[in-house]
């Protein structure tokens, strides 16, 4: 008897752990820049990728009848400028009270950072991105995330996009989209 109680306890502990994990895996954010070495006074493309578990969605800039758009704050050296965020064309979601606009699986939001001219050559630049976003299914859950990105100020940097950056744009279909626009 004692053993079966113990087994039950162990089993429920495992189940709880599993539930805890799936909870965490519902959504995540990652911040990317097109290159790690950046020239002071130049603009570098920046991306925020939000991934969402199956069955959930996050929201577009104009979320429609419910939901909220992601909010992104990037902090860094004095004089850092962050451009306007570009959102890809959203999908439509309909529920009992209306229509909302957003994304399943993942969305990549794009902008540009102006690296201040005053950043000394050869120094490290620390950027911290704070992101708030909403994911919904039949219920909604408010998400917050923060990520630090380290770049190097390099007056001789080529500023060529990294292969990781190119892959991100391809996978998120930003390349295909921008091609179409042109």
């Amino acid at each position: 008897m004692k053993r079966s109680v113990y087994t039950l306890f162990l089993l429920s502990a495992i189940l709880l752990t599993a539930a805890g994990r799936s909870e965490e895996a519902r959504s995540a954010v990652h911040v990317y820049t097109a290159s790690e070495r950046v020239r002071p006074g130049q603009r570098v493309p920046v991306a925020v990728q939000i991934t969402v578990a199956d069955g959930w969605h996050t929201y577009a800039e104009e979320p429609g009848d419910s939901g909220m758009p992601p909010s992104i704050t990037i902090r860094g050296p004095d004089g850092l400028e962050v451009g306007k965020w570009r959102f890809p064309a959203p999908q439509t979601f309909t529920d009992s009270v209306g229509t909302s606009y957003g994304y399943e699986h993942q969305v990549v939001l794009l902008s540009e950072l102006l690296i201040p001219e005053t950043v000394p050559d050869g120094t490290q630049i620390q950027l911290t991105a704070d992101i708030n976003w909403m994911i919904c299914r039949d219920i909604c859950v408010f998400q917050t995330g923060s990520q630090t990105v380290l770049l190097w100020a390099d007056t001789g940097a080529s500023m060529a996009p990294s292969s990781e950056w190119k892959q991100l744009l391809e996978e998120s279909r930003w390349n295909a989209r921008s091609m179409k626009k042109k």
Partner: protein, 196 residues
């Protein structure tokens, strides 16, 4: 022809929206968490706030976990305003609780509403066109809706956005209490969808 159809559709869509500001507030009879009935008629002659709620919706939590909603409830019920929170969550949906759970949650958060009314079948919610939680309707002593929409202008669930927001509900109530015209009578509500 196509344009006319579009126009008819647009007009129809407009009418399908929430009970418009300046229109007569639909009557209702709803039970509170103690099983006591409340009707709009019994509050004739008073200012009534209807606040559509769902305690598990992150946009509602923004106002309750920061104590903002309770402070507004306390302030305005102290000025003889009747504040009715209404929950239209259907059984089994988010925000639907047993009456014991309601009482526990209300105590835990220190809710200061005059009453929390349960609208399980969503009849009152649909009569008003409540689309979101939170969604606010302010009814004047003559029974007309003088404000409907969002509480404030920060369309976010982030608790940090409460401070510095323009609060439309406060503006409407203060105007009404001092006999001035309500500055903004209608906004687009934001938040979770009502879980009908």
């Amino acid at each position: 022809m196509k344009r006319i159809i579009t126009m008819v559709f647009t007009v129809a869509a407009l009418f399908a929206l929430s009970a418009a500001a300046q229109s007569a507030a639909p009557s209702f009879k709803l039970m509170d968490v103690d099983g006591q009935p409340h009707t709009l008629d019994q509050y004739a002659g008073k200012i009534v706030v209807l606040e559509w709620t769902n305690y598990d919706c992150p946009f509602v939590k923004k106002f309750y976990k920061t104590g903002t909603m309770q402070a507004l409830q306390k302030k305005y019920t102290g000025k003889d305003v009747v504040w009715l929170s209404v929950c239209s969550s259907a059984p089994g949906k988010q925000g639907h609780f047993s009456s014991e759970e309601w009482k526990r949650r209300m105590k835990e958060d220190g809710v200061k509403a005059s009453a929390v009314l349960l609208d399980e079948d969503g009849k009152a919610g649909r009569a008003y066109g409540a689309s979101n939680t939170p969604h606010i309707f302010v009814i004047n002593p003559e029974g007309k809706i003088i404000y409907q929409g969002a509480i404030d202008d920060k369309r976010s669930a982030d608790p940090a956005t409460v401070a510095g927001a323009r609060n439309y509900l406060v503006e409407a109530l203060d105007a009404l209490l001092t006999g001035k015209p309500v500055p903004v009578s209608e906004t687009k509500a934001y938040g979770c969808s009502v879980k009908y």
